[in-house]
């Protein structure tokens, strides 16, 4: 009942916002800001005709590869930094310093190294996702319940056994949080790369729309990316209880 109530209010809020936007857009002269109705129509049309759907599919290649690489490097690195005080102290100043530089600022540098196409896009996705993942995993791995470690130690678990049977399962919730944060940044990196390197796929659709002063076309891509972001977030959230029932049980008790 309560959940239904909340879902109703969510829907109401979205509808109210869209109605406001619709009224505002219609009140503006000419085609300054497209109303949501034409954005949705444009997105549906783009998806069905293949203009948007094919571009999205092509975009996903760089996203998946860059994100996968960021996980492969970022998760072990995060564990290393989180579990060793010394490693954390040695690496943290550099991490903070590099983190302070906006990833887009590396664009000219990535062009020197990887050119303007697929490799460059993968590199930017990787760069934008990895820091989020390392920071979140190391924070999680560093804040494990010491009681768990002690139990493992008193049962005589060696370093490897401890990592596999105690540290990894206990840190998995943090890893998931890291994957979610990293994915938002990776999608971010994907579209940033397509706009800042050679304009291809969704980035090309956006640039073409912009050159025609077509705000409906621009907003259709933005809406599509927003839906992609929300769906993947919810997907990862739904996966969580299946992969680690112990975490959910703990939270409920």
């Amino acid at each position: 009942m309560r959940v239904k109530h909340q879902a109703f209010l969510y829907a109401l809020s979205l509808l109210m916002g869209l109605a406001l936007w619709e009224l505002y857009a219609r009140a503006l002269p000419g085609i300054v800001l497209a109303p949501p109705s034409s954005v949705v129509v444009r997105m549906a049309h783009g998806l069905l005709s293949g203009e948007l759907s094919l571009a999205l599919l092509a975009s996903l290649g760089a996203l998946v590869l860059g994100y996968a690489l960021a996980i492969l490097v970022g998760v072990p690195l995060g564990f290393l930094i989180g579990r060793s005080k010394r490693a954390a102290e040695m690496v943290e100043p550099m991490m903070n310093a590099i983190y302070a530089v906006p990833p887009v600022a590396f664009v000219p540098f990535i062009i020197i190294w990887f050119g303007l196409f697929f490799e460059a896009r993968v590199a930017l996705v990787f760069l934008m996702a990895i820091f989020e993942i390392v920071v979140a995993v190391s924070a999680g791995a560093g804040s494990l319940d010491p009681g768990l470690i002690d139990v493992g130690r008193s049962f005589g678990a060696g370093r490897r056994k401890m990592l596999r049977s105690v540290v990894l399962p206990a840190a998995l919730p943090f890893v998931f949080a890291a994957l979610r944060l990293g994915l938002v940044r990776a999608i971010n990196g994907m579209i940033t790369a397509e706009l800042f390197f050679a304009a291809v796929n969704l980035g090309k659709v956006m640039k073409d729309a912009a050159s025609r002063f077509d705000t409906a076309g621009l907003l259709a891509v933005i809406l599509l990316l927003c839906i992609l972001g929300l769906l993947t977030q919810e997907g990862l959230k739904a996966l969580e209880p299946r992969l680690m029932p112990w975490h959910i049980r703990e939270r409920q008790s």
Binding site: E89, P102, A105, P108, A139, V184, F213
Partner: protein
């Protein structure tokens, strides 16, 4: 000196040494070594043009960030204290937070042009949601007991807000500014590199040079600004809410 500081210094020195060695092996075109970047950096500092551009860009960024604080902080507190506001606003918050700022840039150019307001808008949109979210988390997690104590001592609603709620929120509001600042600097560079003006424009142009030393020098400058601003805000947090020290000492996020 504590072992923490020894480890930190060793880490920094090792990273700098690796930079120098890697730079010498790869050459200026691919990855300029520390020594040539430092030379470039000094030249840049005394040149004046770069610093002037940076200050002008930062001024515009600050304008957007202050606007974002003025809107985001009350909004977050409202959402944290009122369930109706939370339910009504949360879907929008989640939607905007996953939206890429770079994707909004072409749209904002059509709506606002490429001048002052465009850059302010990009910074505002990039940072306001994170500031809102942090204030929201703070307002939600406020100890009900504190407010009860105020009530039992006869403090009225307004007085309770100024004397209990607001001080309880300080650490979160400051953390919000810190997180917002990271996003604001990112957004500033995205906006400026897209239309090739200001400091972001300098980065874009430096990317076309034969040597990678100029661009690395610019990135170093940006890095110093970011780290300094972050340290200053942390110091402010310690000053305003010393009791909160332990809870905010986690590494910088978002």
């Amino acid at each position: 000196m504590s072992s923490t500081w020894i480890n930190r210094i060793v880490g920094i020195l090792a990273a700098l040494a690796i930079w120098e060695l890697a730079g010498r092996m790869m050459g200026d075109a691919l990855f300029a070594p520390l020594s040539s970047v430092l030379r470039e950096f000094y030249a840049m500092l005394f040149d004046g043009q770069v610093v002037a551009e940076l200050l002008a860009s930062l001024r515009q960024m600050l304008f957007g960030l202050v606007l974002a604080c003025l809107v985001g902080m009350p909004l977050g507190v409202l959402m944290g204290r009122s369930q109706l506001a939370d339910v009504l606003l949360h879907p929008w918050l989640s939607m905007f937070i996953v939206t890429s700022v770079a994707a909004l840039v072409p749209l904002l150019i059509l709506l606002l042009g490429t001048g002052f307001w465009f850059r302010v808008a990009v910074v505002f949109i990039a940072s306001v949601w994170y500031i809102t979210l942090t204030a929201y988390q703070g307002a939600r997690g406020l100890e009900p007991r504190w407010i009860d104590v105020g009530r039992s001592f006869g403090a009225g609603g307004l007085r309770r807000f100024w004397k209990i709620v607001l001080p309880g929120l300080y650490p979160f509001l400051l953390a919000g500014v810190r997180i917002g600042l990271v996003h604001a600097i990112r957004a500033m560079v995205v906006a400026e590199m897209f239309v090739i003006v200001g400091f972001g424009g300098l980065i874009h142009t430096a990317g076309l040079a034969v040597s990678s030393a100029p661009i690395l020098a610019l990135l170093t400058l940006l890095m110093i600004v970011g780290v300094l601003a972050n340290a200053l805000l942390k110091l402010a947090a310690r000053h305003v809410a010393p009791w909160h020290e332990l809870r905010t000492s986690e590494p910088l996020r978002h």
